[in-house]
Amino acid sequence: MLPISYAIRNLLRDPGRLLQKVGGAGIVVFLVFAAGAFNQGMHRILSASGSPQNVILLGAGSEESVERSEVPIQAETLAAAGIQDITTRLGVSAVSGEVHYMAEVIFPTGHKAQALLRGVTPTAFEVHRSVRILKGKYPKPGEVLVGKLAHHNLGVSAEMLSPGQTIKFEGQSFTVAGIFTAPGTVMESELWFDRNDLMTLTQREQLSCVVVRLESPESYASADLFSKQRLDLELSAIRESDYYAKLSAFYAPIRTMTWLTAALIAAGAIFGGLNMQYAAFASRIRELATLQAIGYSRPAIYLSLVEESLLATLLGTLLAVAMVLIFLEGQTLNFSMGVFRLTLSGEIALAGLLTGLLLGIIGSITPAIRCLGTSLPSALRS
């Protein structure tokens, strides 16, 4: 076995080439981190947004989009009475009739942005248990409760959506009453209004959906039976977790594209790296032959060359980790459903590390085999 110091010193033999290799590997691994963080962030927010204990009663035929759904307003009270195993707290049944609406809001600065609005009653907090008011209070008519990350989605500063600020919707001014959090869910980028306000302004007489919180996910059958028995209401019951899983599937092509892009760039980097590595090894054919003449076996020299390449790509991986921590970690990204954070999870770190290892191994084995394939007498004379 050649000492590891031999591989380390070989790395420093050509600083320009080392820089190229480390930089190339760093960029590829960074892309893998970015693709992983993007996919995982989007998947997580959609997964976390739906609870298996919650059932959404939507208008039949509108199962794909709650915004297009219409549910008779009396469905809320009928569901509370007709569905078994509904969670209750302090005598209040966890049944929340809601209006979901995508519309433009206008800020005092004149800035306009599309926002996801939700008209709720106080029972919404019984159904969406992760929601907590961070600042301020529950909104009265003429007020609005804003999600912690809504400002990202709307492209304004956090101050512009802090309590006391105003926004305009359908010509009417609303004061921000408070800020809520619902960690890791799409709700954090929504604006919650008093339901009556929203219904009046949008001239709706029907709800978008009724969300029911059950004692356990197994009680879904009761909600499903209710929707099938009450044909007059034209309802369809769907688990909240299934609803968001379907949405997640809707975004699957985008996620596949990001992985595909990262994979194609990685493949390009491997082919480019193969050439660069071959040039690096080829310039040392005689030295490698000398090592064989001294008594080092070919496998020992292969191993040293792979070590050398791995050291460079692992340095690149470290560089990528540093770039992720500086430029990516904690950044928020908008998509039509809301806002999600990019984070470097254990799985993504492992994927990046594996990419670095693969770049190092695949990028060096073929050039090493080619360079050590020359017959020893010829290599000694090269």
């Binding site: 031999y6 005689r286 001294i294 008594g295 017959s375 007498p377 000694l380």
Partner: protein
Amino acid sequence: MTVFNPPTSSDPHGKEVFIRCRNVSKSYRKGKTIVTPLEALDLDVGRGEFLALMGPSGSGKTTLLNLIAGIDSPTTGELWVDKQNLASLKRGQLTAWRAKHCGYIFQLYHLVPILTAFENVELPLLLDRSLSRKERHSKVAAALDLVGLANRADHRPTELSGGQEQRVAIARAIVTNPGLLVADEPTGDLDRKSATQVLDLLREFSSEYRKTIVMVTHDAVAANAAQRTLHLEKGQLVEQVQITTSEPTEV
């Protein structure tokens, strides 16, 4: 095919035979033609003998040297070095054999440029797991001392003259205390003064340490340093010159 025994007899000059080639040929394909640089060669070299191989380019000198050093394998014939028939060894076994029994000195030194003189000399010793770090360092220091470069241990090859580089290469070749030293034009790239130093060292290893040395050279003056000179032409031995004096020849 004739099967020969290990060289236990004495050669015609009364020395114990250390290298014995019998009917050794080497052929290889070059494009569409088969080239035979060595053909049915017989040769005995005594233990502790210093042998020079001369001949025009393409006469098979380096091919023979590579066969004796276990760098290459003969196509036919038997090649014994001490008690080992190298023709019967596979590539991996030849590599292991070289590590223990043969030191190779190249015309262009072939030092690893990123390592110091000390580290270059230490390279062959790293293959011997039984040696402690202290033992290795002691052997390297002794080898460098023997070639007169103890004070250059920390220098890299680029900081040494050609003659010094070749002496480091010699230290690397002898550090494992092999019975056989092979040298491919070891003075070919040196000035006369450095060449003399190198040849003096080789003579010393042969006469004082009983190392068997086979040296390829184009230089008749260098060949004079050897005890015997063989001339090859078209893969055949054509002439041999015996130097009777054991004293170093004026170079």
